[in-house]
Point group: C2
């Protein structure tokens, strides 16, 4: 586990350096917060968690770090339409989507993507599709009406 962590930090550090960026204590803290929080948390939540590792960390730095991570493909933004941006650590193996409980806000991962290949999606309109965003909304087991 420790080794996994160290590896991740080093991989990310390398990716940053490759773009002329630097790895700092603050970025390490944000990276670990992202990893430990899991799916789709916003800047404020990431800030709160990262402060555990580095209490002096400012919220502005979190925003800037997330911006850098997104630009370098280390993380990506998730939008639920509530006016705040959430972030996921990018995985090498592919993307995932989310199930959002409209009652309690709980979020679950959806690893399978049921969409046809990109090539087909934009064909009728002549678009070349390079990305998509899918979020599912409904009720989690605890909140679902017991029918």
């Amino acid at each position: 586990m420790r080794a996994v962590k160290r590896n991740r930090v080093e991989r990310v550090a390398a990716r940053l350096r490759h773009r002329g960026r630097r790895m700092t204590v603050q970025r390490r803290a944000v990276l670990e917060a992202l990893a430990s929080l899991g799916c789709a948390h916003d800047a404020e939540a990431i800030h709160a968690r990262a402060r555990a590792a580095y209490p002096k960390l400012g919220l502005v730095t979190v925003y800037r770090t997330l911006e850098a991570f997104v630009a370098d493909g280390i993380a990506h933004p998730v939008f639920f339409g509530d006016g705040r941006v959430r972030y996921d650590l990018s995985e090498d193996g592919g993307h995932h989507h989310h199930l959002v409980c409209l009652s309690c806000g709980r979020i679950a991962r959806v690893d399978e993507c049921h969409l046809p290949p990109s090539r087909r999606l934009g064909r009728p309109q002549g678009f070349t599709v390079t990305a998509h965003r899918l979020e599912l909304f409904g009720y989690c087991p605890r909140c679902a009406p017991k029918a």
Copy 2:
């Protein structure tokens, strides 16, 4: 065409009244702006268009009208993740998605939804899915690299 318009206004007016709301000149102007603009325009664009019919219309009223329309199922919000909410007039026949050109911002409708039925989507996690949001990003025919 004139008749179609009148019908729409009346249907919407009825739906509003049903909820204790009122149909006003301003709301009529917003409704017509939504209909004539088509897919996914933001409050500012709707405001600009609606002002053609009612120049005194304030932007705040547009926001409030859109809020009422969404609450009454007359329109629904669309999110592209750029920090502004767009709106579509709801259709009785079902929903549609969008193709967004990352280069020129052009937006195209996607009428077919390639997703499995809601019932299946949240099953593994035990969620009851009631809605979903899907937006496709890529390049339109004009902007696509001529491969």
